[in-house]
Symmetry: C2
């Protein structure tokens, strides 16, 4: 079957219809209910253990209180009117959550009041839906009926399918017929057939649409709907150059669509989701919940084994893409603060445990989440926790490939200690419409706190006063631009000139990855397409060595270009300036650094020149000290920037930055160390180890073949980091003479104490 999902639609349709005899038996719909997220036997097990499985019982108690309160306050299904944040939107959203919960309560407690509540609400929707026009708000490329966009309508149906499944047998055949004819089928048709530009994409929106149609199809026993969900609808006549609200392409260039295409395309074989963890978190729910339904209703499909088990790998990948506090790295468009606590992650962890290989580390995450799904999966987890099977969830360094075949760059996370220092290094593909133009960018964390930040998105999600809670224009003018990231901008222009069509064609290439538990971990990648004629090769290492209190980050960024350029390398530190070792001027008035590509949003708070071969800048944040030591050239400009220019709506945070600017350079190396050190307590008022331990950082060798950086500490001890620029083979032997001394080693890099 595997190859089938990769063919284009026309071929596939032909195969599907030609092989109906083969396919249809696999997707014939069973009659037992519930059979989506709960099974008859699962419900029996749950009921047998009620009161003896603490985490499940606790969740049950809370959900029961919540649903009882809603039942108490009555059913309201208002005529749709508002954007997200507004009453009708939030009310309908709440309704589907509560219906799903009421449904599982009915199964678990066998109390008819919950079934009746779901039934009554469904019939209110049924009465309203058949005459409902498109939602009056017109901003979406695919308007819904209950909500302003089909995406939210699909959310509704994903949850309501579950509710319907749980009360299926409570309803009479006539009632079911009425609901299906007047509500569920037209609802499913609206978000699919009536909205191909929504349903037939390879995009997280479509995944919701696919899951919604598929899940209601499973409950209704409607093979056609399940087919539609899995493979999409024919779309020969559609304008494939169309773009969505966010500027992304609507249709897949190979003409693929449907749930399985959405599973194939955005996930790499490592389970990395090309849009980044924020959207992966959002998308995981429909993927997993529909997969669970298929697993229960269509076991022969073996959806969990699809693409070498990518769905369960994706849960591991997602958990790896978070800081020590469980907050996701805001790669591409990502809202900071989104974390393991999200309901989507409760689903992901519970389902991955239940349907996967019962990884006992997942139980620790579930324990921290403090709640489980009220279904078969959640019960498995709660039972295992009760039985003491949880093991610590310790995150390791990881390198995740990007692209459907894992050959479009990736994201590496290097972790030292118990996440004492964490480097997130992005050398991935564009990331669809939510991607940022930030090849070879990085962010750095100490114990879950940002040291050098990725700005994330420019949006106040669901805060109506801020552009309706939608993406703000500063997301385009700032957050997506290259200069908003800790990476190289050439000639004040974003990577790929900020053109989505161009960026979508390219990705960075991994040079090598050497992440492990040792005191030197390295990741290195190359970007050749962001600026035609310019090659950027960035190598980042977490190093822990003697005479340094903590591990530090070594950053060697080598640029080769066939033209002379201006290179800007910013470091978006957090906190307050403590000390620098160079002179600078502070202007009387603050003006913007440039006029576009994000530069228009940066005020210049001061500018200076290096005072010697090393530029040092120390800052303090979260009561800890940090020092950047960089090998700079006398003609470099050193800028302190502050975000906020040309931001009349105060949509951007007033965050600071430090930038090294090198002009008239073709080939050059930026070598820097970011060194966390010491601490400060406002209670004891003690500043401990508030100074850098580095005396000098030097690029001691650089040519086509090798680049070498030496780091001398305050005790006079010196280490050397040598990189082979042209051969990343782990078995290749190297020999290099530096300052008359010969070094021999094997593999792409060499780290050695030399004095």
């Amino acid at each position: 079957m595997e190859t089938m999902w990769r063919m284009n639609w026309n071929k596939r349709i032909a195969i599907v219809f030609a092989s109906l005899a083969l396919v249809l038996p696999m997707i014939s719909v069973g009659g037992e209910h519930p059979n989506l997220i709960m099974t008859k036997s699962g419900v029996e097990k749950i009921r047998a253990e009620l009161g003896s499985v603490p985490l499940f019982d606790e969740t049950l108690k809370n959900v029961r209180q919540e649903v009882d309160a809603e039942i108490e306050s009555g059913i309201d299904t208002p005529i749709p009117k508002d954007y997200s944040g507004g009453y009708t939107h939030e009310r309908h959203k709440r309704n589907f959550f509560i219906m799903q919960k009421a449904g599982v309560l009915y199964q678990i407690l066998q109390d008819e009041k919950y079934a009746k509540y779901v039934r009554d609400m469904l019939f209110q929707y049924e009465a309203m839906y058949k005459d409902l026009p498109l939602h009056p708000k017109t901003r979406s490329y695919a308007r819904g009926k209950l909500f302003w966009q089909c995406l939210n309508d699909s959310n509704w149906l994903v949850y309501v399918s579950q509710a319907y499944d749980t009360i299926y047998n409570y309803l009479s055949a006539e009632e079911r017929q009425q609901l299906e004819d007047n509500l569920f089928r037209p609802f499913a048709d609206h978000i699919s057939i009536d909205s191909p530009q929504f349903f037939n994409r390879v995009h997280n929106h479509s995944t919701w649409g696919n899951a919604a149609v598929g899940m209601i199809g499973l409950v209704m026993g409607d093979d056609e709907l399940v087919e539609r969900a899995l493979y999409g609808i024919p779309f020969e006549d559609i304008d494939v150059a169309a773009k969505d609200d966010d500027g992304g392409f609507i249709f897949d260039k190979d003409g693929k669509a449907g749930f399985l295409a959405n599973l194939d395309e955005p996930f790499s074989p490592d389970g990395y989701y090309t849009e980044g963890p924020y959207y992966q978190r959002y998308a995981m729910y429909p993927f997993l919940i529909f997969a669970q339904g298929l697993h229960n209703a269509k076991p022969d499909l073996e959806v969990l084994r699809h693409k070498d088990g990518v769905l369960l790998k994706a849960v591991d990948a997602l958990l790896a893409l978070a800081d020590k506090d469980g907050e996701f790295f805001p790669l591409n468009d990502g809202q900071k603060g989104m974390s393991y606590d999200s309901g989507a992650l409760v689903s992901a962890v519970d389902i991955a445990y239940h349907l996967g290989e019962q990884d006992p580390r997942l139980l620790s995450v579930a324990k921290d989440q403090g709640r489980v799904l009220l279904d078969d999966a959640g019960f498995s987890v709660a039972l295992a926790i009760r039985d003491g099977e949880a093991q610590p969830f310790e995150k390791k360094s990881v390198n995740l490939s990007d692209g459907p075949d894992g050959d479009q760059g990736g994201v590496a996370v290097l972790r030292y200690g118990n996440e004492d220092l964490t480097l997130v290094y992005k050398y991935a593909a564009q990331g669809l419409s939510h991607g940022h133009y930030d090849k070879l960018s990085f962010s750095l964390y100490e114990q879950g706190d940002e040291v050098l930040q990725d700005y994330g998105l420019a949006r106040f999600v669901n805060i109506g006063q801020k552009g309706g809670g939608n993406y703000l224009k500063e997301n385009t003018t700032w957050a997506k631009q290259t200069i908003a990231h800790n990476t190289l901008t050439q000639n004040e222009t974003s990577h790929f000139r900020g053109i989505y069509e161009v960026g979508s064609k390219h990705h960075s290439e991994l040079y090598f990855y050497a992440g492990n538990d040792s005191d030197v971990q390295v990741v290195s990648a190359i970007e050749k397409n962001a600026y035609p004629g310019t090659k950027i090769h960035r190598t980042m290492a977490l190093i822990k060595k003697e005479n340094f209190e903590k591990a530090f980050l070594l950053d060697v960024l080598k640029v080769n270009s066939d033209s002379k350029n201006q290179y800007d390398l910013p470091f978006y530190y957090m906190g307050q300036v403590i000390q620098v070792n160079f002179n600078y001027d502070s202007p009387m008035t603050l003006g913007a650094l440039g006029s576009n590509n994000g530069y228009q949003h940066l005020y210049v708070e001061s500018s200076g020149r290096p005072s010697g071969d090393n530029t040092k800048f120390s800052w303090m944040d979260n009561r800890k000290f940090y020092t950047l030591t960089s090998a700079t050239e006398p003609s470099d400009e050193l800028l302190f920037t502050r975000l906020g220019a040309n931001d009349p709506e105060f949509n951007l945070r007033r965050d600071p930055g430090f930038m090294i600017r090198r002009k008239d350079a073709a080939d050059t190396v930026f070598a820097s160390v970011v060194e966390p050190h010491g601490s400060y307590s406002p209670v004891s008022e003690l500043a401990i180890n508030s100074n850098s331990s580095i005396r000098e950082l030097k690029v001691v060798y650089d040519d086509k073949n090798y680049t070498a950086v030496s780091i001398e500490d305050l005790e006079g001890q010196t280490s050397l980091f040598v990189l082979s620029n042209i051969d990343a083979s782990v078995s290749e032997k190297h020999e290099l003479k530096i300052d008359g001394k010969a070094y021999r080693w094997t593999g792409p890099y060499h780290h050695v104490e030399i004095k």
Copy 2:
């Protein structure tokens, strides 16, 4: 005795010498050791219970580990050289802490290695001290020998006196003689006789000096030193107009000095310390530790009953001046983050419990601190906690008078709920050299988080890279200025023109205080001297009423002036702008708002005009929403400001502000509500109650006698707050007709629902 402390020095000296027969027996020094913070009987009790009092045992274990590690690493008493932050400073500082701890370990564990360690270190100091010149750093008005200022030398002696006391009997008489002759007496003389400008002040510095001299006197059995500590040294020949580094007067205008004068002067009868809680925290240690020594060695002095028990009241006052997290309000010069966790507070709480009335609420604070003093006081606390005597420490609204006689204004803290909303309202005296020019200023907290901030000090305490860790010039140019505070600035000039001598002569006056547990709490005060010819009457109320999710702050600021002025009323909100209801322009480049009095540090991010009678501004911080609703006039200017102009060293935080500017006004009223509401979760992405509940706020009446403000909520319900401007009597009956309707009430204010 009480009145004696209030006479001037000459009279007092005469009395002291004339009544030696009376006084000396009271201060004759006893011979038993230890007798300062430990007593012989106390040590016996501690030793009898060792291992059975968890908090004491735990502290003992930690201190023992710490001291053992120090003993292991050897004694170092380097030649003094550095400012604070530098090695010699930090080493000597660590030495005195460790000596004190080693001394108590010797008493508790009776292990001679601790006594030997203290003895050996003392003899190293003895060998060094006799030839030691003044400390080479010259910045202090009173240079020490071990440290750059006598203050730190005094810290040393306060701790070392305790160490000496604990090993007194371990030493031979010859050893004691040698230490006293070559170290302790010359040391005590240097910080007193040689440094009258330090020792004879009424200032927290002197308290340390007084305590140091007194405590070593108690141990040495030297009555003269104890006398000197209690009453100061004669200083007829001193320039009483001299000022210290911070710009404060050195000598008391009434010629008072010594420990008892320092107890009388800065503390109000309510225990409020005029410099504010940050310095009170610092000063409490020498006050209490010397008091404890006097209590043990000189019980007849009854120092704890002095001034109606002000020392123990001061501990209560200090605990009241903290937010929900136990962090002190940064009134005047105060570093944010200083909290109950401070060692000084461990001392304060333990000693107050032990020597006071065993308030069981203090035990809860001690439990949170997680450690106790290793002495009689700490043992009492740990024992009572073990025995389950702790009671919750819930802070209530409180009004604390300022001034030695409690008649120089004060500070009120209104708290609603369990510190859900906390108002800090300052109508105090100048606060000595650490005072800010901020009459009638306020700050607002929600659950321990700042909503409207007091900037605090401009200093990175003990961070050497930032001006040696000392006060930065921005403390004067910004932090102390009126515009840095949430209060009224007239004509861009600070209160009292920022002149310390003038500010020191005046204080605001309480109009009335009605703090309690009810849903309306009010404090009102008047300032007539900050700007001659202008009277500012500010009334602040915490109000909880129907149709509002949370309690809110009503702020009625009435100004009357005999001239037309520009009035600036800033609100230093924290967080990010969400919405405003007026139009504004944002400049292309940011310039400073003014050229001095703090205005030179404020950038103008935008300026606008009210769009109607109410100006509304909403912001978000800490995932909560806030709205300011203000009755404004069409000609008002509305400014968004950002701190950071003219701050080339990045000494100031880039904090935002919102300012209402009213020009050409003599008599006017600023009426505003600051309304906390709702919440936002980046995990659920739900924005709850993100809008203000106020439809309109109106000044419906204002004349010489009364001011009335109405608040209409979104449900159409309206309440009226009427203030009598000229009679604060609680029993006075009032009648007022507004819009044809008569209101009758008793007392200075009236709050009533009118619709």
